[in-house]
Structures are given as structure tokens and as C-alpha cells.
Amino acid sequence: MIHKGGNIRLLLQTFPSSSSLIFKIIKPMDDIFDVMILGAGAAGLTAGIYTSRAKLSTLILNEGPVGGQMVLTNEVANYPGVETTSGYQVANIMKKQAKEFGSRIKSNVKIIEYQLESEIKKVILDDGRTFQAYSVILAPGGKPRALNIPGEDTFRGSGISYCATCDGEFFTNKEIVVVGGGNSALEEAVSLTKYATKVTLVHQFDHFQAFEHAIVEAQSNPKIRFIMESSLLSFNGKNNLESVTIKNNKSGEIFNYPAHGAFIFIGYLPNTQSIKDLVKTNDRNEIITNEDLQTSITGVFAAGDSIVKKYRQITTAVSDGTIAALGAAEYITKIKKEDKQEVVV
């Protein structure tokens, strides 16, 4: 008898046959899922909807709250077929759909070990729990990039923010800085002028990476000042943020700049720190996949913001989740078929 999986419970049944014994594989043990999805953002939840609807036993493990970066989006106005809504609403509906189709979801877990190479994939949590599956979909998403400079942790919540819509009003009649040069930075800078007396946008390059309309809107706003080709060195103050230290990258000049608030919008990093040595990644630690979103490991797929791709939207994550789920379903069907054939002796 040959069975590559090793961990599957086999029920031996001998059928009256002139030339063969057939071993019938029964339902896997409860702790071996067909698919394990690591991540519960738009990509992970979509993959869960598809795999569980396809009657594959599905476990979704998420290191943060369900919804990923989707819940950080206050207004979703361009999701086809849905009128303007919030990221939270979209995430909640996706979660509900995945659960109703049978996905089990565990959020806020901490994975400490990954064993992805063998046919039965395994992850171990910090509380000792172990979960196994025939196929894994990596959908860890991304996280806002931090500046990692002195004072950033100290003044988070007392001057430093990553959400203008949430915290803008705390800076009414105050002077603030916005760090970044992409769409988020420019759009949020404009939005913050509703509250602040002066908004200073600090950007490391001499040009912006935003769409032209966002640049024009920010540049035509009289409350916004621009400090280009400059980087923040530190956040300063006693109990609350009082100033930032800025370095001009061209001249090398370093100066203190008064600021009661700082909003940081400098892009996102893929959450691949713990898996970047297991699957192939590029120099930005994004997971490399083929067109079916298969990674460098057989049976391991990847989807969403953590993979190599140009555009990162809820819609593209949903698309990835669908493709990865269908790929995983096809893979599982194939290996189960092979297992059945292999146990015929």
C-alpha cells in the first residue's frame, strides 16, 4: 500500500475482486482540513467563500482582526455592484458568507511554525494548537509602513495617527504634518485642512507618486505647504507631540518644525516576514506565484496584497482569492484521486 499523506485515517475494506485489494479513504480526521487559508482580508475571505461552497473543509486563520486592511477603508465607492459602503460592512458580509458556507474562522491567532513542504501542511500556534490541511492559501495581506523613527511609538494616539477620518477632529485649529507623497497622503492632507490651521506635507522625493487630480487639488489648497526632498528624523514633545525634526535630503540641513499632529501615509509592506524564507519571494518580500497563484511549494497558493502584482485593491484581492481557491480545489481533487489510485494494489 502506498499513501503519501501518511496522516490520513484509512479504512481498509477488502472487496471481492480477482486481482486487487481496494483501500477506501474515509473522511479525514477532524483536524486535517482540505484547505487552510492564512489571512482573513478580502483575498482570504473570498478564498474561504469559494472553497467552503465547493464543500471543501476550510479553516481560515488570521493573525489580526478579520477584514484586514479592508476595515481600514472608511468608504468603498468603487466596488462593482455595491453602492457606497464601508470597508467594515464589506468585510462583515464576506465573513458571514464564508461562515455560512462552512468555513471555520479563527482570528487574532499567532502562528509560530509553518510546515508547508509535505503533502499534509501544518501550522503551529503559540498556544500549542496545531492545524493541518492538504492545501494552504497564503493571504497575509499588508500593513501600513511605519517610519520607525524615535518618538513614533511614544506619540501614537497622542499626536501621531494613521487615519485622518478617525482622528482629524482632534487637530482642530492645530498645525500638523502629513508624511508621504502618494494618493493617500495627498487626499488625506486635503481632508485634514477641514480641521487644521496649517497642513505641511513632507515628502522624500521632488515629485509625487499620486494621480494628477490629487496633486492639483492639494497644490491648489491654500492651507497646505510642501516640504519636498525631506525626511522626518524624529517626533518630539513631552506628553503630546510638539514638533518634528526634518532633514533636507539634498542639502543635509536638519531643523525642528512645530507640529501638534502627524499623519503617516507612506505605503504598505507585505506581511510575509514569517514566510519569506519558505516560499519564493522577490526583493520586496512579495510572494512570487504563477498565473494560477501557485507558489514555489506544491499545494501552496497565495493571494491578495502579499503577492507580486502592480495594483492592490479590494477587487484585485477578491479576484486573487477566487483564483487561488479554484487552484486549491483542483489540486485537492487531483491528490485525492491519486491517493485512491495509489492504494489499489
Binding site: N74, S158, F170
Partner: protein
């Protein structure tokens, strides 16, 4: 009205009664925004495993929430949500802005 799976406190009087009647209470005062939702979700999970703590929300925009927003422990807070931890009827700790599950657990373990 917040749309979470947690019980919501609607009045300052109600908050007073809850913290008087329970040894350990955590109250997250926020909105349905991206900095608050992850905290609510962590609390919903913790509610199942920490029976020694009572978990509640309070709407930041309710005038009744001034009992929290004007609390001296929240001086200088400039980020939602304002999260309060009460022990034996008194404020044991308060945090501003988003907190991770790990950070919340740390406060529950060390302050309550």
C-alpha cells in the same frame, strides 16, 4: 449606536453602575471606524476566554460619553478609540488609538 457583538453602555449612570458592580471592566469608547473596529473585535474574542472581565463599548459621539472623554486619564488623547480599564470602580489604565490583541492582553494581565 455601535454595531458590534459587545454590549453597549448608553449612559454615564449605566457605566457607573457597571464598574461598581464588577471588579474588572474594559470599555472601548469609539466609532465604527478603522482604528476602533480591530479593538472591538479583539474584545469580542477575549469575552469568550476572560470571564473575569466585563467587556463593553460606548459610542464616542454620545453626549453621555463625556464621562470617559473628560476623564483625567484621557488628557492628551488624540486618537480613537479611548479605551478604559476599570478595577474595583476606579480607572486602572486608559489607552488612545488602535491596540492589538497582544497589547490589550498585556493591560488585562498587568492592570486588572
Amino acid at each position: 449606536m455601535l454595531q458590534t457583538g459587545l454590549k453597549e453602555i448608553e449612559t454615564a449612570q449605566e457605566l457607573k453602575k457597571i464598574i461598581e458592580e464588577n471588579e474588572n471592566v474594559m470599555v472601548c469608547c469609539g466609532r465604527m471606524g478603522p482604528m476602533c473596529i480591530p479593538v472591538y473585535e479583539a474584545m469580542e474574542e477575549l469575552e469568550e476566554e476572560r470571564e473575569d472581565v466585563k467587556f463593553y463599548t460606548m459610542a464616542f459621539d454620545s453626549p453621555e460619553a463625556s464621562v470617559i472623554t473628560n476623564d483625567p486619564a484621557c488628557n492628551g488623547f488624540m486618537g480613537l478609540p479611548f479605551t478604559m480599564y476599570y478595577k474595583n470602580g476606579k480607572v486602572a489604565h486608559a489607552t488612545s488609538s488602535i491596540q492589538s490583541m497582544q497589547q490589550i492582553k498585556q493591560v488585562l494581565d498587568n492592570k486588572l
